[in-house]
């Protein structure tokens, strides 16, 4: 075997350190007994205990999850329609404009999105008396508007990679266009829609800026709560919370990777069997 380059190896170590030292520190300090974050006071689980008994944190976590699920579901629904239209409806007047406009929220600064949505809700309240107060509903609507664009882009790219002749074949065999959509297009699109749902879910769970703009008193999502607490000083229980999130994500990613690998191996076995 070729001797590995020392330079490349140290570059790798440096890169990894750069990425992971902050997280490792966070995890280590979450087990710190001391109230002062940077002072090591021995190993303890007391912050985890205080975390699990804090009603405030549980409430905001629940709120965040609720918003994320509703948002992901609606964004997937609307985004799929948008993506379908753009990829399959053929050419219509203004198609390019629509395509561009659909992906604009992806590059729009969040501050602008948040501010404009806040203005919209205030105006609506003046004119229609709805929404009377800002909170979960307004945050959900705001999240749907921007995560929809992500779903639409995913669906569109999956559709353009998917050969149109499958749909044509179904039509050729007597399937009317709507029927073909349910029999062929949507089942094949399902992985893309799932990916879109998951992305919309994480985007919503992750969002601080837009939620801060359109939220009202009493509606604190988890990122908002963490941010407001840290502003009052570093708190060890937040470290504990962050550690739990890191492990949840790591387990989720590992599981997904393992499932994908298994699926690919199964496929390869099938192919070998077919050509044998």
């Amino acid at each position: 075997m070729k001797k590995r380059s020392t330079f490349l190896f140290s570059a790798l170590c440096f890169g990894m350190a750069f990425l992971y030292i902050p997280m490792v520190l966070l995890v280590v300090y979450s087990f710190n007994h001391s109230r002062l974050v940077p002072v090591w006071g021995g190993f303890s689980l007391r912050w985890y205990k205080s975390l699990f008994t804090s009603e405030e944190i549980w409430n905001s976590l629940l709120l965040s999850l609720q918003i994320a699920v509703v948002n992901a579901t609606f964004a997937t629904l609307l985004g799929t329609f948008a993506g379908l239209t753009i990829a399959r409806f053929g050419r219509f007047r203004g198609r390019t404009l629509f395509t561009g406009m659909l992906s604009a929220p992806l590059v729009m600064p969040e501050v602008i999105t948040g501010l404009s949505l806040l203005l919209l809700f205030i105006t609506l309240n003046e004119l229609l008396g709805w929404p009377s107060s800002r909170g979960m509903t307004t945050i959900t609507i705001a999240h749907i508007t921007f995560s929809l664009a992500y779903v639409a882009v995913i669906v569109q790219s999956r559709l353009s990679g998917m050969a149109q002749d499958l749909e044509e074949a179904a039509q050729d065999l007597g399937g009317k266009p709507l029927r073909v959509m349910f029999d062929i297009t949507l089942p094949l699109l399902a992985p893309g829609m799932l990916a879109g749902w998951l992305l919309a879910f994480t985007l919503s769970l992750d969002d601080l800026v837009i939620a801060s703009f359109v939220s009202g008193p009493g509606a604190n999502t988890l990122p908002m709560l963490i941010y407001s607490r840290v502003r009052l000083g570093l708190r060890p229980d937040i470290n504990a919370l962050a550690t739990i999130i890191i492990f949840t994500v790591a387990v989720g990613v590992a599981l997904a990777g393992w499932l994908l690998l298994r699926q690919r191996k199964q496929r390869e076995r099938d192919m070998r069997m077919a050509s044998a």
Binding site: D165, A170, G175, I184, D270
Partner: protein, 387 residues
């Protein structure tokens, strides 16, 4: 060659296998003045074509010649910019794909990846609302025919290329369409499988009596499969005929070159002895005799063509003076097993290709590189082509 026309008052029976020769036969598929433009680009110019019941008709041409667009218009995936399409007496021009009595086998096979073989084949019958028991029976029968019965529960990705091709065929045939369209049906198969499948296709077509229209760029495939071939170029049909007719009587140099190989001599026509015509070609020393049936005038520029296998090559001068003969030197030879291909430079400079069967296992009198040889052919085997 087919007879030019039957005697007056001839019954249909004499044309049973070749209805296109019968002036009274009604075509099954009638394509009249069909054209297709995409923006400024004309994919199909203006096509008139009559196809008869039970034919295995090939649309042959290079890529971009419009053959696939024409097929897609027959399937109903493209709406013609002009003209009309009639199938079995019914106007199909504006009928959507899902209401046409036509099924298509796609080049990619387009098997539904999330359904197993049985569901793929059953899909069309389900959409037609056929009863469950009937569907099961017909799917079973057609899978039996393509020898895939035991693979019914497999998904498309668990099949080999040849098996997928047969599933696609079964799926397109199970509805017993009036017309089956096949887009490059053998294109994705390797050579050995292709030859075998060719004959299977012909057998199935013969059994079911369904009219097949095949799009292909492979002239050999078109020659073996078809009852008739339409050669397409730049959106137009440039010749329609039986395989032997297209091969032996190509109308233009382009067709002659596209289907097989042909040697062409360019020159001017002059009167020769015994009332025949000669072609004076600057790159051949002797004048070339034109075939007697050629429609030519004195002094006209013309193209004389001869297929490589119609030329005989010998070391000694051929005795028969009815033959056209030329002298030359062997430039190159390629041994192909059953036959050999020779490239011979005739006196005057033109290079002529000759193919000869290898009749002897060990040939002591074998023609080799740089040998001086005589090339000869019967003038009636040559052609005058339009450019």
């Amino acid at each position: 060659m087919p007879p030019a026309a039957g005697p007056a008052g001839g019954t249909g029976a004499q044309y049973a296998d070749r209805p296109w020769l019968d002036p009274d036969a009604a075509p099954f598929i009638r394509i009249q003045g069909v054209s297709k433009r995409f923006g400024a680009f004309t994919a199909v110019g203006s096509v008139d074509l009559d196809i008869y019941r039970g034919e295995l008709f090939s649309l042959l041409g290079g890529s971009g010649c419009g053959k696939t667009t024409l097929l897609r218009m027959l399937a109903g995936f493209e709406i013609p910019s002009g003209g009309s399409i009639t199938i079995d007496g019914a106007d199909m021009t504006d009928v959507p794909a899902y209401r046409r009595p036509v099924n298509m086998m796609f080049q990619s096979y387009a098997l539904f990846p999330h359904m197993n073989v049985e569901s793929n084949v059953a899909y069309g019958l389900k959409r037609d609302g056929v009863a469950k028991a009937e569907i099961a029976k017909r799917v079973g029968d057609i899978l039996e025919m393509v020898e895939l019965r035991q693979f019914g529960k497999r998904k498309p990705h668990q099949l080999s290329g040849g098996q997928r091709q047969r599933v696609a065929l079964a799926r397109a045939l199970v509805k017993q369409p009036k017309v089956l369209l096949l887009d490059e049906p053998l294109g994705a198969l390797d050579k050995r499988l292709r030859e075998q499948t060719q004959f299977e296709l012909m057998k199935i077509q013969d059994q079911l009596g369904i009219t097949f229209i095949v799009v292909t760029h492979d002239q050999e495939e078109a020659m073996t499969l078809s009852t008739r071939i339409a050669v397409m170029d730049a959106g137009n049909i440039i010749q329609v005929g039986e395989p032997s007719e297209v091969y032996e009587r190509p109308k233009t140099r382009k067709i002659a070159n596209f289907i097989g190989t042909i040697n062409t001599f360019e020159g001017n026509i002059a009167a020769g002895g015994k009332g025949g015509w000669h072609l004076a070609c600057p790159r051949v020393r002797e004048p070339l005799r034109a075939p007697k049936d050629a429609d030519i005038k004195d002094g006209q520029k013309a193209l004389l063509a001869i297929r490589p296998e119609k030329i005989t090559m010998s070391k000694s001068k051929p005795g028969d003076d009815k033959l056209q003969s030329l002298r030359g030197e062997v430039l190159e030879l390629a041994y192909m097993g059953n036959l050999s291909i020779y490239r011979v430079r005739v006196d005057g400079g033109q290079v002529v290709q000759v193919t000869a069967p290898n009749l002897q296992r060990i040939d002591r009198n074998k023609i080799d590189w740089e040998d001086r040889v005589y090339l000869s052919w019967r003038p009636e085997n040559s052609l005058i082509l339009r450019d």
